[in-house]
């Protein structure tokens, strides 16, 4: 299971990186979303996978007994998903507004902010 997840994380990172290198804004946002998912899944995987052992204290005992699934990575991921959702929603709106106002979604044509002095639009 860990191996499978590791492969998926790798594929997500690869696909995300490929997409953010594209010139089209739509692909860039998809790339960012995939990278976010890859990071979340990686936290889940490196936090050690424990199957079928939720972190509940069994009846009659005082403390957790090994093995139990560590709940913290899941809490981290949950927070990261919520934050990621908000930020990505903002990004999509920003990209849409940019497309409407500049009339292009080709990143290569958005260079007015990086112009050198003397090089007028």
């Amino acid at each position: 299971m860990t191996f499978l997840l590791a492969v998926i994380v790798g594929v997500l990172y690869g696909a995300g990186t490929y997409l953010i290198l594209r010139r089209s804004l739509v692909k860039v946002i998809f790339g960012l979303i995939l990278l976010g998912h890859a990071a979340n899944l990686m936290i889940f995987t490196v936090g050690r996978l424990t199957k079928g052992a939720p972190a509940f204290v069994p009846k009659g005992t005082e403390a957790l007994v090994e093995p139990f699934a560590d709940p913290l990575p899941q809490a981290l991921i949950l927070t990261a998903i919520v934050i990621g959702f908000g930020v990505q929603a903002f990004t999509i709106v920003l990209f849409k507004r940019t497309y409407q106002s500049l009339g292009t979604e080709d990143l290569d044509r958005m260079r007015s902010t990086d112009e050198l002095p003397g090089e007028k639009q």
């Binding site: 953010i20 804004l25 860039v28 960012l32 990278l35 976010g36 890859a38 990071a39 979340n40 990686m42 936290i43 889940f44 490196v46 936090g47 050690r48 913290l72 990575p73 981290l76 927070t79 990261a80 934050i83 908000g86 930020v87 903002f90 990004t91 920003l94 990209f95 507004r97 940019t98 106002s101 500049l102 990143l107 958005m110 007015s112 902010t113 990086d114 050198l116 002095p117 003397g118």
Partner: protein, 505 residues
């Protein structure tokens, strides 16, 4: 008593929420904003004096003991940074009163400013790495909105670059947090500092250290990760550019300082300091060369931010107490001087109607006092005694010589010359030469019609920050004492660990 640690975070939050309730009352927004910032400045000064008198303060949120809960810690470094950020927040609140148009004010400009301050203060005060990630996101999302507020095409285009690169760095941050938790089993900074030297499986620690260096490098605009900065910082209104220029990159530098002097000091991460030294030289040189080539004032100043970040990284990578204190002093000096220069560029734009240095001139003839106000931060930035920049550079270069990094010291000195050159360029072009548009030049109609009260609000922050630059230079000792104490605390993590884990909350 320790609850005061939370106040610099809670106060801006409460102010922002209060403002949102009175959406249509802009006058109230303005007053609340300025009052909120002033109160925050007061609280952070009290925090600093408490920390100075009583040592490190820590607060376990919700009563969950460290390392299980979220900890907030105010040590010397954090509280100095909080004071600096509240100070810049306060001056920006004043400057905004004079410059921000009503449309932006209606679209939650002031609440966003408060949320930005909350994110910055949170990042300075937290003692937990995942919590740091959360504060970074708070800071980022409010800075995104402030950057695009107004929606001019140029702003949107700059924001695309800013947003994409910063989100990328956030996802690297998240990955690093995950791996670090998988390796060390904790994310509390004090607990990490204690536990990392004893870990058995250390293979991934250097990977984690590099990932953290990359994320914070992006936030701090370090070479070669700075490209989002000159592409976006010149697009929003000056008040926004100024607060970004003063504070946002410094949060990155703060994080590098915290991580690579307290947490990652073990063998596996020692090479990071070497990497930082090399990158700092490139950051200094590339930043200043970029600045020299520019004619747009804001772009010129944006490139200078990068160059100055190089000095701070250089100093903190040296790792001696003097160097860390120097880096901190440099950071504070730079926050003040850089924000001030951005404010001034806003006034020049208002007087002459253009950002382009080639199209303006003759300001000194009509506004000699403005010339004086400009020279203070400009020469301060270049490092002319007795202004604050002289001491900042002196400390950094002394630390460099002590550790025999002669080549890097050479680079730092050359870059200093070029900094002076580009400051003199602004002086010559904007203030000294005759106006190319002829006698008197164009003065912005809008500025001339502006009521005196608003004009005063624009000039006041510049006077305040200029005074601080001079005071830092003339009464160097007490400020250096604070920086020195902060540096010693950083290099010897014992006191920090005790304050967080020793149960004296």
């Amino acid at each position: 008593m320790n609850r005061i640690v939370m106040l610099p975070i809670l106060m801006p939050l409460c102010t922002a929420v209060a403002m949102i309730f009175f959406r249509r009352r802009i006058l109230l927004h303005r007053m609340l904003n300025a009052a909120g910032m002033a109160a925050m400045l007061g609280v952070s000064l009290v925090l600093l004096s408490n920390v100075k008198a009583g040592g490190i303060l820590s607060l376990q949120v919700g009563g969950w003991e460290a390392p299980f809960g979220i900890t907030f810690v105010a040590d010397m470094l954090s509280s100095i940074m909080v004071v600096a950020s509240a100070f810049i927040g306060f001056t920006t609140a004043l400057y905004s009163l004079g410059t921000i148009d009503e449309k932006r004010e209606h679209y939650f400009y002031y609440p966003l400013l408060q949320i930005l301050m909350m994110g910055i203060n949170g990042a300075f005060l937290t003692g937990d790495i995942f919590n740091l990630y959360v504060w970074f996101e708070v800071m980022l999302i409010s800075s995104f909105v402030l950057l695009v507020l107004g929606g001019r095409p140029q702003q949107l285009e700059g924001a695309i670059k800013y947003v994409t690169l910063n989100l990328l760095s956030s996802s690297v941050f998240l990955a690093a947090v995950g791996i670090l938790y998988g390796t060390a089993g904790t994310l509390n900074m004090a607990d990490l500092a204690q536990r990392i030297p004893l870990l058995e499986h250390r293979e991934l620690l250097s990977v984690v250290a590099v990932l953290f260096m990359i994320t914070f490098g992006v936030k701090a605009a370090m070479f070669p990760l700075f490209f989002w900065l000159p592409a976006s910082y010149h697009t929003p209104p000056v008040a926004v550019s100024a607060i970004f220029a003063g504070l946002l990159t410094k949060v990155g530098v703060y994080a590098i300082m915290r991580f690579f002097t307290t947490i990652f000091v073990h063998e596996e991460a020692a090479f990071i300091h070497q990497v930082l030294l090399v990158l700092s030289a490139f950051t200094m040189a590339v930043g200043v060369l970029g600045a020299v080539a520019q004619y747009d004032m804001r772009k010129l100043l944006s490139f200078h931010i990068i160059s100055q970040i190089g000095y701070m990284i250089f100093a903190l990578a040296l790792q001696s107490p003097l160097a860390i204190a120097g880096a901190l002093f440099y950071m504070i000096h730079n926050i003040v001087a850089k924000t001030n220069l951005f404010y001034l560029s806003g006034i020049i734009r208002r007087l002459k109607g253009s950002w382009d240095l080639r199209e303006i001139g003759g300001i000194y003839r009509f506004y000699p006092m403005l010339g004086l106000l400009f020279l203070v931060p400009a020469l301060g930035l270049a490092g002319i005694p007795p202004l604050s920049g002289f001491w900042a550079k002196f400390l950094v270069i002394k630390a460099g010589l002590d550790s025999e990094h002669y080549l890097l010291v050479g680079v730092a000195l050359c870059v200093s010359m070029l900094t002076l050159f580009s400051m003199i360029k602004i002086w010559n072009e904007a203030f000294w030469k005759d106006d190319p548009l002829g006698e008197g030049g164009v003065e912005d109609e809008a500025y001339l019609k502006m009521p005196g009260m608003r004009k005063a609000m624009i000039v006041l922050p510049i006077v305040i920050l200029g005074t601080v630059t001079v005071v830092f230079g003339l009464w160097f000792d007490p400020f250096f004492g604070l920086a020195d104490k902060a540096a010693l605390e950083l290099l010897d993590a014992g006191e920090y660990i005790d304050a967080v884990l020793g149960g004296k909350s």
